[in-house]
Subunit: 569 residues, 2 copies
Amino acid sequence: MNRILAQLQPSEIKNLSLREREVLCEELRETIISTVSSCGGHLSSNLGVVELTVGLFTVFNFPDDKIVWDVGHQCYAYKLLSGRYKRFHTLRKKDGISGFPKRQESVFDSYNTGHAGNSVSAAIGLKKACELTGNPANVIAVIGDGSFNNGLIYEALNSLPIFNSKILIVLNDNNMSISPTVGATHELLSKSQEDNQKNIALIEQYGVQYMGNVNGNDLQEVTNALQEAKEKLQTSSVLLHIKTKKGAGYGFCEENPMQTHGVAPENAKQEQEYSKLLGEKMIELAQKDSSVVAVTAAMTDALGLREFFNRFPERSFDVGICEENAAVLCAGMAGGGLKPYYAIYSTFLQRAFDEIIHDICAQDLPVTFCIDRGGLSGSDGETHQGVFDLSYLSLIPNMTVAVPKDGEELKQMLELSLDYAHPLAIRYPRSAKHYFASQTKPEVGTFEYLTQKTNSPVTLLACGERAIAMAFSVRERTNVHFDIVNARYVKPLDSALLSAITSKHIVTLEDNASIGGLGSQINKFYQNSGKTVQNYAYADTFIPQGGIEELQREYGLNEREIADYILSL
Amino acid sequence: MNRILAQLQPSEIKNLSLREREVLCEELRETIISTVSSCGGHLSSNLGVVELTVGLFTVFNFPDDKIVWDVGHQCYAYKLLSGRYKRFHTLRKKDGISGFPKRQESVFDSYNTGHAGNSVSAAIGLKKACELTGNPANVIAVIGDGSFNNGLIYEALNSLPIFNSKILIVLNDNNMSISPTVGATHELLSKSQEDNQKNIALIEQYGVQYMGNVNGNDLQEVTNALQEAKEKLQTSSVLLHIKTKKGAGYGFCEENPMQTHGVAPENAKQEQEYSKLLGEKMIELAQKDSSVVAVTAAMTDALGLREFFNRFPERSFDVGICEENAAVLCAGMAGGGLKPYYAIYSTFLQRAFDEIIHDICAQDLPVTFCIDRGGLSGSDGETHQGVFDLSYLSLIPNMTVAVPKDGEELKQMLELSLDYAHPLAIRYPRSAKHYFASQTKPEVGTFEYLTQKTNSPVTLLACGERAIAMAFSVRERTNVHFDIVNARYVKPLDSALLSAITSKHIVTLEDNASIGGLGSQINKFYQNSGKTVQNYAYADTFIPQGGIEELQREYGLNEREIADYILSL
């Protein structure tokens, strides 16, 4: 098996016959399916670009030529063809092959990606560097139609005449981002079969030659088109519009592209997810209050809101991969008297930082952020670890930052949010595994004791399910009956409760970076108080892929270390 | 004088004759010119939209109808016509009329703005809120052609079919943002006189009716066009493309639109500006190192780089108001071996937060940010106070955050940046007023004593010119000879110097918000050390307009308070 792929040098691909390259595509597809089955990962998007990738290696010379994969999770075939076949079984594992391009992994990876829409800007920048250093390399950006909605793409196209650099943009149009692609740009592109003139006009306004559209799953056709595009690059930048089928060549994926976009390893346990609880509670809120609206940026299913969208279509808005736009739309709706809930993954919200500051918090508008994948997210690696949110949200005036201790508390916080007239961020991880008995409602700015209050010499302040679970583990391991407090608001703090703590030693524990989160706020609170404060949070570094628990241990939330510290007191 | 304007109720405008409205335009223009001469402010952009504003009041019913001014600094005529004539002499002064729309100031202001490109999203959101609450109000976004380059606009246009809300977009095309508008979109729009079909196609792809282009400085013509647009709104959203002259009606402004975009009060002293020093030093660096390139986002002159752009056109890139794109272009160029310098105002950089994290810092690329208007910026108010940068930059792994103590140190830091192989942010205020003698070069992560080291019981750590100047003032006022340290890197700290401090009492002082800046880092450093640490920084609130010194006093950098604290020790 994999007779061709197993032996192949990248430079040899262009010497293979068409038939051999077709077999190579089959081998790539099989390898991707079997690896993703065991390691998890992105499936259907990778299957869609197998022929494109073989075509690229046939026509271009990597790593001399450079490629930027937008978002980056469709790079598996590229990795398999660029010397990483033997290590590919380590995909998404700690110290293994990344599911995204990584410069540190291979010279074939020219640019690291993870979020959407930056590929064209990055390609222009790389090409300009080549020009100014006398390097004749071709530079290619491969971008899906979902990413093509992102405003960054238009900014990049708009700057092409300024840079006057000739790049190849391959628009991989599979009619899907993670959810089906939405909006005007998509409408335009999908009509292209009938009305290619419109596409041409749209693209050529930027001084870019349009080629399309081409069947991207026909190896011969896509290879020929790439060859032609390469020649056209002599004159100007080129946009090659290819149509592919997400999940191509694997019937189950073709029929279920949304469900097979990201796939968990076969042996992964199914746990309760916060997203499910969000979806249920949001329906309840919308029934109760007609001003409730929900906004997502191409992630409706993953965030648990599909049923909400089905039940309240007139109050549901998936704006595509446009995180900034979504934030401003929420501000506008809130300014007009509605109650918007913006559900999003933690790292994607980074895109809307300025809009959170200006449009939402400076106007003190009642927008509620439902932030999923807060804290470590694991095997997607650096670009998807949601460890900065407590820090960058807490520094914004007027923002309230809530971290529910479990799924039940998420629901209670959502209930309270209905009458809360200010910006509110509720942040939680993917899986809800625990339940912690609670006596109090999570009113804004209140903490609560999770253990019988003993006035022990040590009080541990923990926020979020993972940190609280670890606090209990440490308590068990050490057999020291210190007090555990659910520090469920990073902002504002519960100053009454904090002031009443008599313990000499305070420990903070959070599933967040060490700069700017709960620990920083608590340090400031107890400044000059005579108490000692010890912070446990993630090291100031980009945390790579791995299992949540192994990453916790290595990057700053080490249960044994915390236990040893407490025993040392 | 101002016989009409002085008495006018907003609702009466539509009853005036054309001749009276023409006189009104003259009165508005005179009032704007005289007020800006004494208060400072945005001049030419406001003069350009006088007729448009009178036309809007003639055709629409404010405040029932709602308007969003993109960026917002062109709202003076609107404010004068909506009940703020009598208070207009307080423009940009503390507790006075804001130079930007402010909901808290008037019910006529529907949405606060300050940065570019969010107006269309905000208008869609407001309109959706009206629809869902049964309010038939019209919603209008007014946006300049400079802002029209911003990617947010395309995201908003793309989401129009999703929201299916009918709004009026007035595209105020004056061929300028702050600098001349650049890029492909601009090329397209400015050709419109000859080739209107292209404009129509560009806009109608979004399901929006195009009307244009209209002479926006002809009162009758623009009023008629607004009337027609209002009728067309029954069917779909409308983009009304008007051409105006920035500075219209005031010869000096028409001829010098760039110089009169923002105007200082007539009695303002001319001080040395950091931007001038940046420009000079950047030319030196570019002469020395051919890999140096400079990137700006529509602010080349204000940032001091015009001469650099003239001397090195092939290494200079003004990408228009596209802060994210600029960041990714820098990352691409750095990834390809160049040495990019991205010069930008502090608050505008907030737009590129995710790209700083992903594209630049996660890839650890040597991009240098030259961040002007760091700290309070004064009379522009909430949206322009650069008080969050030290906080949001410090929380990003791999980022170095430098704050020069004076212009000389800015130059030294720039010199050092040439060989620095990592992301580096250098942040400074507008005016360079002081010079502090220095013995050491600002090597990354080094602080220095600015006073003879005395091992006094108090050491004051200050970063940036304003904080250091205040530290010296406090020293003089108290006559306590405490040690003053130039804490010129917020990240990384100089741990050797900090560890060697023998003072029992540490005071931090910074021209930044209190959450997440120098103070937070120092608190953490001295945690459990037995030292007391007292932080002086700005309160956790949006700081309104006012003079720098009065705002410092009121919002947390109060010299007398610091002196009293030190005397109390």
